[in-house]
């Protein structure tokens, strides 16, 4: 089990308040504590994906069947979702995405930079609202605001969780 950070506990609390039932994710260090909280909750159904766009399709099915969900992924996964985002957009289905950022502040891996820098514009061009957390103390407020617009405003929305919140990966350097 990854020990959940306070901001991850805040996200979990907000997801529960909005009755999120399906949690789809590709394993990710930044989301690890939140994933474990969701997996330990027997009222949530956690699903490990092979690739992120599966989660976009799955959560479309979830909403057609009356359940709310969330897709947890890293910034690199956003690129995998582009065509599948046409599904919630064309059918008017709510979709909440929480995106842990790589390829920005203090990134040491050049391969993460293209998609990290592309995350917000790609999401916007795909019809998603984009929210952002750069200070952990804003977490509950930003995620709550995103949830309300997504689930009560029937929108596609993504929250970028910045590397300043997660901590830059260093591989021991």
């Amino acid at each position: 089990m990854a020990e959940a950070t306070p901001w991850q506990r805040e996200i979990y609390r907000v997801l529960k308040a909005y009755d999120v039932k399906q949690v789809a994710y590709v394993p990710d260090a930044g989301h690890a504590g939140l994933i474990d909280l969701c997996a330990a909750d027997n009222r949530m159904k956690t699903v490990v994906l092979s690739t992120e766009e599966e989660g976009v399709a799955m959560l479309a099915g979830a909403w057609l069947g009356g359940e709310r969900g969330v897709l947890l992924m890293q910034s690199s996964g956003v690129g995998n979702c582009i065509n599948m985002l046409s599904l919630p957009r064309t059918c008017g289905l709510p979709l909440l995405m929480l995106v842990t950022m790589r390829g920005e502040w203090k990134e040491f891996n050049p391969w993460q930079i293209p998609m990290g820098q592309g995350t917000a514009p790609v999401l916007q061009q795909s019809g998603s609202l984009v929210f952002r957390i750069d200070d952990a103390k804003d977490t509950a407020d930003v995620v709550d605001g995103a949830c309300r617009m997504v689930f009560e405003g029937c929108a596609i929305g993504a929250v970028q969780i910045g590397q300043r919140v997660i901590g830059a990966k260093s591989f021991g350097r």
């Binding site: 159904k45 399709a57 057609l64 065509n83 599904l87 289905l93």
Partner: protein, 204 residues
């Protein structure tokens, strides 16, 4: 191994008859149709509110079925899609095998062709065996159907058995009359949710 183009022209089963035989008059199935010919096959049976025919989202049909199956565990969810659509989202078979929703059944109508783009051969016309992929992933019930007798024998598994179930039905490569399902996504959403949820569908 080269692609065998002629083989699929000799399969005895015809896709429209297969779909009509599977769905019959059942109104309790929640049905997702993969884009292209499978959605047209479903429309040919007679469009219904519990049908969700896709016009895009290629590679996503099985996972839409998965989310639906998790949300509605007491209902049978049937995904009818094509070989090209399934090949694009093959990782979903691993995801579905691991989560293993018992009420999800996937049927691939395999004519070994990309029907919407001019009938080019797919990988299944060569050596790729989607049943082998599903079995290797650990999908609980896997079956291959080529003949009418095999279809009858497989129907209980496709429609009733605890799953997840995955069947490849080899169908004749042929050009069918174009019968299009509705394509307005908001209309499909509203009628499907109303069929599943009743008045609750109006609530966001």
């Amino acid at each position: 191994m080269t692609m065998d183009r002629a083989r699929a022209e000799a399969y005895p089963l015809r896709r429209r008859e297969v779909v009509a035989s599977l769905i019959g008059q059942r109104t309790d199935l929640l049905l997702v149709g993969g884009l292209g010919a499978p959605s047209n096959d479903i429309a040919a049976v007679g469009d219904r509110p519990n049908f969700m025919p896709l016009w895009g989202a290629m590679g996503g049909a099985a996972m839409i079925g998965m989310g639906l199956a998790l949300a509605q565990p007491s209902k049978r969810v049937l995904v009818i899609t094509g070989d090209g659509e399934m090949l694009m989202g093959m990782g979903a078979l691993a995801t579905i095998a691991v989560k293993a929703p018992g009420n999800l059944s996937i049927v691939v109508l395999d004519n070994e062709r990309y029907g919407e783009t001019g009938g080019q051969t797919t990988h299944t016309s060569a050596r790729v065996d989607l049943c082998g992929v599903a079995e290797a992933c650990g999908i609980r019930v896997v079956g291959k159907v080529v003949t009418a007798a095999e279809l009858e024998a497989a129907k209980p598994a496709i429609l009733e058995f605890a799953g997840p179930c995955f069947h490849v039905i080899k169908v004749k490569a042929e050009q069918e009359e174009m019968i299009l399902p509705p394509k307005d996504g908001h209309y499909l959403r509203d009628r499907f949710r109303t069929a599943v949820l009743g008045a609750e569908a109006a609530k966001l």
